[in-house]
Symmetry: C2
Subunit: 253 residues, 2 copies
């Protein structure tokens, strides 16, 4: 049900890999959530503890579906080589005998903000808009081509820089959160390998200009999913500060 303005591109020439790479980077520059006002407040240390709780609670819903969306992609993988590479992502988030995994690490971050982990796990009080945006990620990896499903993960091309900055700023402004930052530390070495595999997959499998445009659009749509989550947080908890009926309320407000 995505409304897309992508037109048939048969008349336009295939992009060289450097051009395709440049266009993917340009999508990130324009739409990735590193520029979102909610993140800017966070990095300036201007979010209250309650606002950080709202962020950690809502973002947990996103974290919790990542291994589900990766399992859907896994189920669509064409061969063992692809599936072995992609399986790493499920392990990274769900953990194994030697590692607790990203979901557990996010719970620890949420606890460090003062939330009850039971509430976080149950998703109690998350914004409906968070659910809608995140569920759209599942819609995309289920209903579009595998190429587009893979391309939608390419926000990882931009995440290392943002996470590096965020960890520095959270340590600086919110020292009491320092014990909860394992999630981000792990992503700093996990994401680059993942994004390189996905990028190579897109390079190899977008064989027409139309397919290249679909891959670029999938990345744009994924950026919109991240951006919309922060819009909803900002609206509910910063300005005008109106959480919808039934959503988490910041204590003392």
């Amino acid at each position: 049900m995505a409304v897309r303005s992508v037109k048939t591109e048969t008349a336009r020439p295939l992009l060289a890999l450097e051009q395709l790479h440049a266009q993917l980077q340009a999508v990130g520059e324009e739409r990735y959530h590193h520029k979102h006002p909610f993140h800017l407040l966070m990095h300036e240390g201007k979010l209250t503890g309650g606002q950080l709780q709202a962020w950690a609670l809502n973002r947990y819903y996103y974290q919790s579906i990542i291994p589900i969306k990766d399992s859907i992609i896994l189920s669509r993988g064409p061969d063992s080589v692809f599936r072995r590479a992609w399986r790493k992502r499920v392990v990274d988030h769900d953990g194994d005998a030697t590692s607790e995994g990203g979901i557990k690490r996010w719970i620890k971050l949420a606890e460090a903000t003062g939330l009850d982990p039971g509430q976080v796990l149950a998703g109690q009080g998350i914004l409906p808009a968070t659910r809608f945006a995140v569920n759209e990620y599942l819609n995309i990896v289920r209903s579009r081509s595998l190429l587009e499903a893979v391309a939608s993960s390419l926000t990882e091309l931009f995440s290392t820089r943002l996470i590096t900055l965020r960890v520095e700023k959270l340590r600086q402004h919110y020292r009491w959160l320092s014990g909860g930052l394992d999630y981000f530390e792990a992503r700093l070495y996990q994401a680059p390998e993942d994004s390189q595999f996905a990028l190579n997959y897109v390079y190899d499998h977008a064989k027409t200009r139309a397919e290249q445009e679909l891959a670029i659009q999938a990345l744009r749509d994924k950026c919109d999913i991240l951006w919309a989550q922060l819009d909803a947080l900002y609206f509910a908890y910063v300005e005008p500060g109106w959480p919808p009926p039934g959503a988490f309320r910041i204590e003392g407000r």
Copy 2:
């Protein structure tokens, strides 16, 4: 992927129909979008022409998927009696030889706000948050029980009062829109019949307390879908007034 707090209700007694009805009404009172600040501004005549354009453009996406969601329910209908009753909804929105249908009427409303109908049809510039919320409606009618899919339509129990007020207020404050209100006029006689059928279906098919609670939750979730659309409009076009990258911009801003 809905996070729900509904617990197993086997220990609790079945609600009498009047109690069930009262609970459904209470959901509407708490969560239906008649109380949303964006609607309050509209009814006070405080929305600008550009803000009304943003509303008509985004709401068109909702209108455009209604016959799709009703076709999904149609495809799940158990028998001809159900499908004949439900088919009316698809006709109401897509039209037939004698009636242009609700989608066409909404386009006329959008045109009355000054939008180009081609842009509206293409969904150009609609907010990603609109798409995500509306697509969730499709997720619900596809993935939950038929009982829940039907129950999610019960916002129609509350729409007549809201539409009656809206038509009066739009005529009063935005006289230049008067030629575009056919959509609402038609809904005033279409919706009550539809909601009566759906309500009777829920009465007949929610045979356990757990099923009754699922039906109530589906209505709650549907209210959240409507509410989230107005939150996104308010955030992008009223306060703080930050449309996300690529979205419709109000002229002169």
